[in-house]
């Protein structure tokens, strides 16, 4: 199996994961509606409750963006579990293709849809009044940081999906992992407003640091150590879960 073949097979399987978005308008709409709903609910409704709509939008959107992106990392494991459950995986396994191609295709496709989701969320944010106040370079840095972190989480998702008994149980487990990460953070609620038990966790939680990094990179203000802590977490998560996922994958695919 040459590297070129492996790459070509990976690209074919990336295409295979993305083409349903073109085939079925429903799939694409579902993908796009999630950021729209989340932004409308959190930014507009909670913003209106706070009284200072404009200030709330500037503060909340990076947090909601984080939440939207994190929720979407479930897809990686969910689709892997589906492929295992309905026999598509076995079809690939019985073929003379690189063992790594199906996983590679999955990760590449999910990175592409994640980029699309982030772009749509920023666009919808602009519609409801979110303004990027930093240089394009800093803003792009924010997007890149978000993609790096979700890519790392994608490997946790892949690991769960490869070990799960079914797609439904994978979704349950992933939600159990994500809830404390997204809601036990300063992404939406300032640390001072959290119950004291949650404050120590929110200070540790990588999602808090990610959201605070995005705020700084999109709307200005000191990023401080948040970016480095976020990158550190991403590296740590990847270091732990890439090998775990690859091992679970090799067990499934041998």
């Amino acid at each position: 199996m040459t590297t070129r073949n492996t790459f070509a097979q990976g690209m074919t399987l990336t295409w295979r994961s993305l083409v349903p978005l073109r085939n079925q308008p429903g799939e694409l709409i579902q993908l796009l509606l999630q950021p729209i709903f989340m932004i409308v609910i959190f930014v507009v409704v909670f913003g209106a409750m706070s009284g200072d709509q404009a200030g709330a939008v500037q503060h909340l959107l990076p947090g909601v963006l984080t939440q939207v992106a994190l929720t979407q990392t479930i897809t990686t494991g969910l689709r892997l579990a589906e492929d295992i459950g309905n026999g598509v995986f076995d079809r690939f396994r019985s073929m003379p293709i690189a063992r790594s191609a199906p996983l590679m295709g999955r990760i590449l496709a999910d990175t592409a849809t994640m980029t699309l989701t982030v772009a749509v969320a920023l666009l919808v944010g602009a519609v409801v009044g979110f303004r990027i106040r930093t240089s394009p370079l800093e803003a792009l840095g924010g997007v890149a940081l978000l993609l790096v972190f979700t890519l790392a989480l994608g490997w946790v998702s892949a690991w769960l999906g490869l070990r799960a008994k079914s797609a439904a149980s994978m979704q349950g487990m992933a939600t159990a992992v994500l809830l404390p990460l997204t809601f036990g953070s300063t992404a939406l609620i300032p640390a001072a407003n959290l119950p004291s038990v949650l404050q120590w966790w929110a200070a540790l939680n990588p999602v808090s640091h990610l959201a605070d990094s995005l705020r700084a990179l999109f709307t200005g203000g000191p990023a401080g150590a948040h970016i480095w802590i976020t990158l550190g977490w991403a590296a740590a998560i990847a270091a732990a879960f890439v090998p775990l996922a690859v091992r679970a994958y090799s067990r499934r695919i041998r």
């Binding site: 073949n5 070509a8 083409v19 026999g87 076995d90 079809r91 396994r93 073929m95």
Partner: protein
Amino acid sequence: MTNTIEAEGLVKRYGDKMALDGVDLEARAGSVLGVLGPNGAGKTTAVRILATLVVPDGGSARVGGHDVRKEPAKVRELIGLTGQYASVDEKLTGRQNLVMIGRLLGMNRSAARARAAGLIDRFGLRDAADRAAGTYSGGMRRRLDLAVSLVGEPSIIFMDEPTTGLDPQVRAELWAVVREQIARGATVLLTTQYLEEADQLADEIVLIDQGKVSARGTPDQLKARAGDRRLEIRPEHDAEKAARILAEVTGLSPHHGENGLISVPVLDPTLPPAVFRRLDDAGIVLAEHALRRPTLDEAFLSLVSTPARPPAESPAETPGRSPAHDPADAPAGSAERPSA
């Protein structure tokens, strides 16, 4: 290149359950091997081992001359897999599924498209080709699944219950495809619960029951083994006297069936002519007479013990088993576990 399938002493355990307990299989190049058995007999496990999806706990298998454990990549270059567990991507259209497989097998874009178009025509999927496979009916889905497994023109094809649950017309269409593949020179291993299907397609049949081979042979041999031929007559008159002659010639007491049908098992091929001579001498006219072999259905029933038995019980106590299958069962008891 040889396109043979050979397996010796395959063993596979799932927890406490022995899915396969020492199964031997052999398919000559260019032949159809039918693996017949009830649900849960171990047919699918056998196919999954041969298709390199599952590693056996014991025994060995070579597909196209390559060991499935040591050279799975070589095996994968030769095989096509279709059936219950290898499936199509429901979110892709039929055409996209076929193109994807062609591209994965190294075809360029136009070659993969051309191959897909050819298979779509051959399998009568033209109208549905550009709809998501998830919207297909059961029969269309199986046809697509089979088409997908044939994209690379494999020389060895595994078909795991390809027609289970399909209506007779679609089944006949799929049978025609199997025959085409044979004509092309491919070797086919087909599992099925349908006796008729095995009878129609297979050169040799292996009957699997509870993880063991309970019989093997050509369809004719299996029918012969399942029971003796029976001579059936229906005399127009003098039924009593006819029955007496039957008993005298064969030395067995005849069975009186419905509508005046009298039958007796015959082992000696010279007996029926003798019976007819005696009846003719006695002036008895027969409305009907036949030397009937058991159907494959009867063979199947007499060779397979369907009700699950507790593992502690000795297989020898299982009723309804033909004693003729001893050679196949003999090595099964001593299934050794390899280092896991």
